[in-house]
């Protein structure tokens, strides 16, 4: 008797708090028909924003994978002084709010920051352009791959790798034939989460983007710009693109968790 009530209450909460907002995006975006929606997402500025977002994700992804694998290998396979501190530093971006993160980058890499000021005579500017967007995106996404790959590496142990070593395998051979097959799925899982976050990051990017129309606006920023321009349909149309990406991310996550139940359990 209590069971139906609790289920209904949970469903109602999820519906009102989670489903309705997403439904509202699509309703508003298509309120004036699919034609208007299509012309809204293909408007030049929005197209530029989509491209910049993809470009950022494409730059951030390989760096994240290389860093994540290196960090996971070093931390799982070796003991060295400062190992625990290193792990905490890698996890810290998850504990820092986006605006504070963006501000930290501005204070160091901006024109008035020590690094930014040192590079200025050479004509190098790091903030308010693509470099700045990539740097903060790396900050907000760097824990994802490590936190998925490291536990698996640690649990797998290194017996197989040691065996390969005694058989005369080189470091690269050990990695590609022995280690990599064990961590393919966690790596993919972490990479998907990191990419989704890089695509959707708003706060940190908005601090360092410079907000130049058609040039340094990623898609999440473009949504705000269109919305403040009272171009509501344009804003909601752009939002549908990101909402669809979010749904795809969830489905991919679900699939990986379903086919590799051990993975779903750790996160």
């Amino acid at each position: 008797m209590r069971r139906p009530l609790l289920i209904a209450l949970a469903m109602l909460f999820a519906f009102a708090v989670i489903v309705l907002p997403v439904a509202a995006i699509f309703t508003r975006a298509f309120a004036e028909g699919a034609g208007v929606w299509l012309s809204a997402i293909t408007a030049p500025e929005t197209r530029a924003a989509i491209w910049l977002t993809i470009l950022t994700a494409l730059i951030v992804l390989p760096i994240n994978i290389v860093f994540g694998l290196c960090a996971a290998w070093a931390i799982a396979r070796f003991r060295f002084p400062g190992r625990r501190a290193l792990l905490i530093l890698i996890e810290i971006p998850f504990a820092i709010s986006p605006i504070v993160a963006g501000l930290c980058f501005l204070l160091v890499y901006g024109a008035y920051g020590p690094v930014g000021a040192a590079l200025q005579p050479y004509g190098l500017q790091l903030m308010f352009n693509l470099t700045g967007i990539v740097l903060v995106s790396l900050f907000v996404t760097c824990p994802f791959v490590v936190r998925e790959v490291l536990p698996v590496l640690a649990v797998t142990g290194e017996d197989e790798e040691r065996a390969a070593l005694t058989l005369g395998a080189s470091g690269w051979q050990i990695f590609s034939y022995v280690t990599f097959p064990n961590i393919t799925w966690p790596l993919l899982y972490g990479a998907i989460l990191a990419t989704a976050r890089a695509i959707g990051e708003f706060g940190a990017v908005s601090v360092v983007s410079g907000a130049i129309r058609g040039q340094t606006m990623t898609l999440p920023l473009q949504i705000e710009l269109l919305y403040n321009d009272y171009n509501t349909t344009g804003a909601f149309a752009a939002a549908t693109v990101l909402a669809l990406l979010a749904l795809v991310t969830l489905i991919l996550r679900g699939l990986i968790a379903a086919f590799h139940p051990a993975r779903g359990a750790t996160s």
Binding site: R3, A14, A74, L107, L138, L165, F202
Partner: protein, 287 residues
């Protein structure tokens, strides 16, 4: 998803590994962490150190700063309370009951994590504005959510509800239903069973979930600024005030507020970790 908690225990203790790659991988890792995490954090610390105590207090005692902190913290507290209650409910229903739509409900819980915050922001405004689906229902009752403090709470609830659910869920899975059955046969009411048997065992999860939810709410920016109205002294959150000070090139003021928020978050996270370890230890001793 505990933050600042590391899976070190799974690694065997040993002297020196014969495996190759320490130099290369550690070199890449340290370089990356230095450039991307350490230097920016040091930058904030450096700016704060230059500021000095009296300047810091001057910024922080400003009426507008205090109002922004008050708005942010009170809204985050209410959002966390809501998430604690409904997070527990959702986690309970997801673990204990089998019903049509359970898998969909489980997947839905992660949606706020996956949805970019600016998308969440305009979605919530669309919903709670006067002409929105929910806003139009509330308007005749004289309730206004969008462009008010309540809107901030709604945005914070949306963005942080998964933390609560996902932190409590695994602990409910570990509960032994036999204990509840025993309590019932001994004559305990449902409420007594919940209070004396279930709740204490879920405390570590509730603590972590609400703690992470609170920290996330304190720092939330994208979802909030669309629905808040952003009126100084009334509905202006701390993150937005940092942004405004930056636009005015008042870096010291921005750094002072940011440093305070950051310190608050880190202290909370460390406190959660310590409390959690203690709670687990008490359990292990008790059983």
């Amino acid at each position: 998803m505990p933050i600042l908690q590391t899976p070190l225990d799974a690694v065997r203790r040993r002297r020196r590994s014969p495996l190759p790659g320490l130099g290369l991988t550690l070199g890449v890792t340290v370089t990356f962490v230095t450039l991307i995490v350490l230097l920016p954090l040091a930058g904030l610390g450096w700016q704060l150190a230059q500021l000095g105590i009296s300047d810091y207090l001057f910024v922080m005692s400003d009426e507008r700063t205090l109002a922004a902190l008050r708005v942010t913290i009170t809204a985050a507290l209410l959002a966390t309370l809501v998430n604690g209650v409904f997070g527990l409910l959702l986690a309970w229903v997801l673990v204990r009951y089998r019903f049509p739509g359970r898998a969909a409900l489980d997947a839905l819980v992660d949606l706020p994590f996956a949805l970019p915050t600016s998308v969440a922001g305009i979605a919530l405004v669309a919903l709670y504005a006067q002409d929105g689906w929910i806003g139009s229902l509330l308007a005749p009752l004289g309730l206004q959510v969008a462009y008010s403090w309540w809107g901030i709470v709604v945005a914070m609830v949306f963005t942080s509800v998964p933390f609560a659910v996902r932190a409590i869920q695994p602990l409910i899975e570990e509960l032994d239903p036999a204990e509840e059955a025993a309590a019932t046969t001994l004559g305990a009411s449902r409420w007594q069973t919940f209070r004396a048997i279930i709740l204490p065992q879920l405390m570590p999860g509730i603590l972590t979930g609400t703690g992470l939810s609170f920290v996330r709410s304190l720092g939330e920016f994208g979802a909030v600024i669309f629905i808040a109205g952003n009126i100084p002294y009334e509905t202006e959150i701390a993150s937005l005030l940092i942004m405004i000070r930056l636009d005015e090139f008042d870096y010291p003021a921005a750094a002072a507020i940011a440093g305070t928020m950051l310190a608050l978050s880190l202290v909370l996270l460390v406190a959660i970790n310590i409390a959690q370890t203690r709670l687990y230890r008490r359990f292990e001793r008790g059983s």
